[in-house]
Amino acid sequence: MKEKKTMKRHMGLRATNAISNSVIHVLLVIISIIWLIPFVCIVLQSFRMELTGQVGYVIPKQWGFGNYISLFKTDFTRWYINTFIIALVNAALQTVIVLCMSYTLSRFRFKMRGALMRFMMILGLFPGMLTMIILYRVLKDLGLTESNAVPGLILVYVASSGMGYYVSKGFFDTIPKSLDEAARVDGATRMQVLFKIILPLAKPIVIYTILTAFMAPWGDYVFARYISFNNPVGMNVAVGMYNWLTIDQINKNYTMFCAGGVVVAIPVTILFMCLQRYYVEGVTGGAVKG
């Protein structure tokens, strides 16, 4: 025991740090390799030219862009544009609604404020899927299904977004109220307080709201499938591409499907890379005071 202790002292603080750091790094590298394998596979498969089905190996024997070329000969472009429109509009509207909601609940004191917040929380506890059938009927009666699924989906995504105010309200609560008061004393209106004082300080949370609102429609399948109801004009990428995977089609479309997956990942990845430093700040920022 004694010898061990002395040895440790000999090694010094720097050496122990180096060892523990390298162990951690090796571990992290292993974890990230495991984590990245599926993505690497999809990218590699999307360049495979020799067979269009699923195969038992990862590295293509013949490389090429054929899958991407055939991808854009299908309805994929339409689905991509649909999803992009939904994502953009959703990002814009949802951000406005969520920020207004959070500002109001954070700064204003009005009758039934507490009751309203509790009510929304309880409402939020019900899974959204419960409303699916009735939503479909309502949208169908409004004529917002099938080929008009894009506005229909925007309506669905945006309509309930006000209830997602928790994180940003938490963030607003951390901004001292005395700042508002000082501005108000100087003659600023409520609107000016929001735009000139709160929002500049709350940049991370604004970015976070935009990001989540933009990303959600890319992955939605269930609602999008229901509302587009087999009409390719109204499909988003997830629904459209899923149809390539039927039993008699999968071997013809599998590599094209992978190519589609890569193309879908591009805008989300770019946006995420540009805004990621705000993202982390935004997620944790509101957590200090809830």
Binding site: L51, G56, Y136, L142, N251, K252
Partner: protein, 521 residues
């Protein structure tokens, strides 16, 4: 003032939303001519077919528009919906669903249940009967009425194999095939753990049947099922050989050949893909035999059909016109076009004789398998989910009792499905099988009777229980008349009726008073 403004704004929003709802469903047909028997006119229709034939179907409908003599013009919107997905999609929203659609046969019962198939008229029914093979006609027939049009007759499966791995002489034996695959480090693909359709192959081999009676509403009313029988046990043992092999993969995907499989059980739709991977090494033949206790059983298969259905319409003229179109689309010419473009094997008797069809390797293999195939009759839609778990349960079983338990479990679920009620006189005479319908009591006005032969044995006992259940207790303690014929002591805690001697007895149980009377005949 502000509040009034807010209210006005809210109303304005509501109305602007309502304005979105101006578009009405394109259900109505325009300019049908005045003649009451004439079908002439332009109809907007929606067609649901598999992705693979959307372009072809568009072309065929155009051909119909140009050639039909009734002056019918269809303005068709073709949408890609998988044949296995039709019922689910259709039930979601019948109104917005396709007016005409191609579906796999297993969807039939569910579509009938949903009222989604229009009955064929006399003329159309006769045309279908005259031109298609009888099995395919049976597939669209329910209680002597026809509800659809056969499209293909090759929805069955057979065996593809890699000639470079499997020697020609081994293809008839399941055991040798497994050996060859294991020896070469290759796999044997057969979807046994997730599909009742493939799994039934083993049961058909030993002569088991699962025949359902379906009523006009698509509900299962009766069942003749022998999967849970000594033959079923043999079948399950044969299946376990493959399931237990390290070479087995539960899959039915053509691309398995690219990932190390040497044998694949699949259907004609995989032919082009398998050909692309194996090239000249492609072998296609009937399924092998398996050997249990010295006897060979040739594996069976389902032979099913793809069918075309017409959705019931509110407009009788449109309905009639749609039936005309369906007849055309399932006629000889369209079936051959589908074969030429997508290798869909025809159900039309004339089209089947076509030299190209007869020479196709996939069609040859399905014809080789045909003598062992069971035509897929009307089966309850729920059966597929009940039966598919047999695969996993048999694989997990460690001994014969475990395999038997899997089959018992299957039968209980089937019985529950057709609503087996009533009471069973369970005991030594039927091996204590509480789901044994041959010992079910016959009921009349709340009085249940059964006559049984009790054979000489150590313990000639039993009691009345609810079918498939052990809960109810009607036994020795309830016996009044004939108490001298039984040994109450021996019945013990289970309240069993134990007969003192062998013989033929009639047991009568009155539910209201819970009294049992026994008479020796």
């Amino acid at each position: 003032m502000k509040k009034i403004l807010a209210l006005l704004l809210a109303f304005a929003m509501l109305f602007s939303l309502a304005a979105c709802g101006t578009k009405t469903g394109g259900e109505t047909t325009d300019d049908t001519t005045s003649g009451d028997s004439s079908l002439a006119g332009t109809y907007d229709i929606k067609v649901w077919v598999a992705d693979a034939i959307t372009d072809l179907t568009q072309k065929q409908i155009d051909d119909f528009n140009n050639t039909n003599t009734d002056g019918i013009k269809f303005n068709a919107t073709i949408q890609a919906v998988g044949e296995n997905d039709i019922a689910t999609q259709l039930i979601t929203d019948v109104e917005a669903a396709g007016d005409i659609f191609i579906f796999a046969q297993d969807q039939f019962a569910r579509l009938i249940q949903a009222g989604a198939l229009a009955k064929l008229g006399q003329g159309a029914a006769q045309t279908v009967k005259d031109n298609n093979i009888p099995e395919s006609v049976a597939a669209v027939t329910l209680n002597d009425e026809l509800y659809g049009y056969p499209v293909t007759a090759d929805n069955g499966y057979f065996m593809y194999y890699d000639k470079s791995v499997i020697p020609e002489e081994d293809v008839d034996s399941l055991e040798k095939l497994i050996e060859d695959c294991e020896g070469a480090g290759k796999y044997f693909s057969m979807e046994l753990q997730t599909s009742a359709w493939y799994l039934a192959s083993f049961f058909f081999a030993t002569g088991c049947v699962s025949e359902w009676t379906i009523d006009d509403d698509g509900m299962a009313t009766a069942l003749n099922d022998t999967f849970d029988s000594p033959e079923g046990l043999i079948a399950a043992k044969g299946m376990k050989k493959l399931l237990d092999s390290p070479a087995h993969v539960s899959s039915s995907n053509a691309s398995d050949f690219a990932s190390g499989s040497a044998v694949l059980v699949c259907g004609t739709w995989a032919y082009d893909d398998v050909k692309a991977i194996l090239g000249d090494n492609l072998g296609a033949t009937d399924l092998p035999s398996f050997n249990v206790d010295g006897t060979d059983y040739h594996m069976g298969s389902f032979n099913g059909f793809k069918l075309m259905g017409v959705k019931p319409q509110t407009d009788a003229t449109k309905q009639a016109a749609l039936h005309k179109l369906a007849q055309y689309l399932t006629g000889e010419q369209c079936q051959l076009e589908r074969f030429a473009e997508r290798s869909w094997g025809p159900s039309n008797t004339v089209a089947q004789q076509n030299p190209d069809v007869a020479a196709n390797a996939g069609q040859i293999a399905i014809n080789l398998q045909a003598p062992y195939a069971t035509p897929q009759g009307q089966i309850s839609g729920a059966w597929w989910n009940i039966a598919k778990v047999i695969g996993d349960e048999v694989k997990d079983a460690t001994d014969e009792a475990g395999i038997q338990a899997a089959l018992d479990n299957y039968r209980d679920k089937c019985n529950a499905l057709i609503g087996v009620g009533g009471f069973v006189f369970v005991g030594a005479w039927n091996g204590w099988d509480n789901a044994d319908m041959t010992h079910k009591l016959t009921e009349e006005n709340g009085v249940y009777t059964i006559t049984i032969d009790v054979e000489e044995s150590d313990y000639m006992g039993g009691r009345i229980v609810t079918a498939t259940n052990w809960d109810t207790d009607h036994g020795a303690a309830q016996v009044t008349t004939g108490a001298d014929l039984i040994d109450v002591e021996a019945g013990g805690g289970d309240n069993n009726i134990v007969f003192k001697e062998a013989g033929n007895y009639t047991v009568t149980w009155t539910e209201a008073t819970n009294v049992i009377e026994i008479v020796k005949n």
